[in-house]
């Protein structure tokens, strides 16, 4: 029988890792946005060598599941870091590498490619006419970028960025595979302790859902507010 009391207890238990999961997701979001912006710039200006590398990386990241990437990084990263530490003559113990670092790096890299598309699309959505107007008024390249392009691109990209935060939160459910405990990881542990897996997973599902609902609500509210007066 499904036990609602157990469900409630499970939810309370699972909820304790929600802040950690959110912080992790926001950190990954910001890092992937930063990398995405760099990728978008490299592609926009067709920087030789780098833009080719990014093309291959893009195709690779599109074609491989997150789980595979996570395992790949988990087993390869210590070796890679040890190698670079060796070159720089820094003391580095590969076993001391926190798996959270692996999770952050893996997801930041794999989502940066998608973020670059969001960033590119939002910048391209700004009419050329406004940019020309700024130029004709004597704005420099950076002034045009900062005062005209960025404020409008941010608004255009806002719903997509919040959506990708949700995608990252859900993708973090893979993190327990390399022993980082997020919402799903916590649910598994709660289930294992109480032998009530169904209640634990229903609890996890409800928590994910609630986060999704809240993010969608924020997205809609802010989009309207940010767009006030223009579209």
């Amino acid at each position: 029988m499904f036990d609602f009391k157990v469900l409630l207890e499970s939810i309370i238990e699972i909820a304790t890792v929600v802040p950690k999961t959110l912080v992790l997701a926001i950190f990954i979001l910001l890092l992937s946005l930063l990398m995405g912006a760099i990728i978008a710039l490299i592609q926009q200006y067709k920087v030789p060598v780098f833009s080719q590398i990014i093309k291959v990386l893009q195709s690779f990241l599109r074609g491989t599941p997150n789980v595979v990437l996570l395992y790949l990084m988990y087993y390869a990263l210590p070796g890679i870091l040890t190698f670079f530490a060796g070159i720089l003559r820094i003391e580095f113990d590969a076993n001391s590498l926190n798996p959270i670092v692996t999770v952050i790096l893996t997801f930041s890299i794999s989502y940066s490619v998608f973020q670059s598309e969001i960033i590119r699309g939002s910048i391209l959505s700004i009419e050329k006419g406004q940019i020309e107007a700024a130029q004709s008024l004597g704005f420099s390249f950076w002034q045009t970028f900062r005062r005209v392009i960025i404020p409008q691109a941010l608004v255009a990209a806002f719903p997509d960025i919040l959506n990708s935060l949700l995608v990252i939160i859900k993708a973090l459910s893979l993190a327990y595979l390399i022993s980082v405990v997020d919402i799903l990881g916590q649910a598994k542990m709660v289930g294992a302790l109480s032998y009530r897996y169904l209640e634990a997973f229903v609890g996890a599902a409800l928590i994910y859902w609630l986060i999704g609902v809240i993010l969608t609500f924020i997205s809609n509210r802010f989009e309207l507010k940010l767009r006030h007066g223009f579209h």
Binding site: E127, G129, Q130, E132, A133, A134, Q135, S136, L137, G138, F139, S140, F141, Q143, R147, V148, P151, Q152, V155, H228, G229, F230, H231
Partner: protein, 250 residues
């Protein structure tokens, strides 16, 4: 005050401007007329370096530049002496009317906020939009948007204002309000280069008319000369075509 010498420009191997020479004196209102696709707008955009001419020289008051060797810094200097009013208005959509007019004064000219505000109010009053200060461009009619963009240009006190078909994308009933504003600008003594298809307007406000066809200047002269006394076949054919199609007056 403005002199262009031997200006050439090509797009993908097509020569659009084939050696333009143009002189504009201080206080002049020079109107470029001619068939569509003749390069009038392109010529105007060259003055503001929104296009990259392949050859030619431009002199604007104390600035003397060659398009082949022009630097980013020179382009900025040139643009800061001029202002442009576009066919599609091109207002900043995320800013209010007041912010649109203040923005470049603060960012480009480094004015203080209060100073820019004062100047903006002054210019917006001239174009009759004091009741729309807090409106966004999307809340305005085309004619109102174009008047804001004229105020935005005037607020910078440029030595030269370029008007690129300022009424061509307006509904017919909104053309008059914008033409009246341009007329006031012209009367105030600001130097203007204008591209328009409003022939009777061009005739009444211009000090000089330049007739262009197929990338060259065919002839230029006073409105009286071009509209009444010209013996050039191409000029006459173009103007006759217009006389029979004239729909909007001033």
């Amino acid at each position: 005050m403005l002199a262009i010498r031997d200006l050439h420009l090509s797009f993908n191997g097509n020569e659009i401007l084939k050696g333009i020479d143009l002189t504009v004196n201080k206080g002049d209102v020079v109107t470029l007329i001619g068939p569509s696709g003749t390069g009038k707008t392109t010529l105007l955009r060259c003055i503001n370096c929104l296009e990259n001419p392949s050859k030619g020289e431009i002199t604007l008051s104390d600035l003397q530049l060659n398009y082949e060797t022009i630097s980013k810094k020179d382009i900025l200097k040139l643009r800061r002496k001029t202002a442009m009013v576009f066919q599609q208005f091109n207002l900043f959509k995320n800013k209010t009317v007041l912010e649109n007019v203040m923005e470049a004064q603060i960012i480009v000219q480094g004015k203080k906020k209060e100073e820019a505000y004062k100047k903006s109010i002054e210019e917006l009053e001239k174009v009759g939009l004091l009741d729309k200060l807090e409106s966004y461009p999307s809340e305005l009619s085309g004619g109102q948007q174009q008047r804001v963009s004229i105020a935005r240009a005037l607020a910078l006190e440029p030595e030269l204002i370029l008007f690129d078909e300022p009424t061509s994308s307006l509904d017919p009933e909104l053309v008059g309000e914008v033409l009246r504003v341009i007329e006031n600008v012209a009367r105030s003594g600001v130097t203007i280069v204008l591209v328009t298809h409003e022939m009777s307007f061009a005739q009444s406000i211009s000090t000089k008319i330049v007739f262009m066809d197929k990338g060259v200047i065919v002839e230029e002269g006073s409105p009286q000369f071009i509209f009444e006394d010209s013996n050039n076949e191409r000029t006459k054919a173009f103007l006759n075509h217009f006389k029979s199609n004239q729909t909007v007056g001033v």
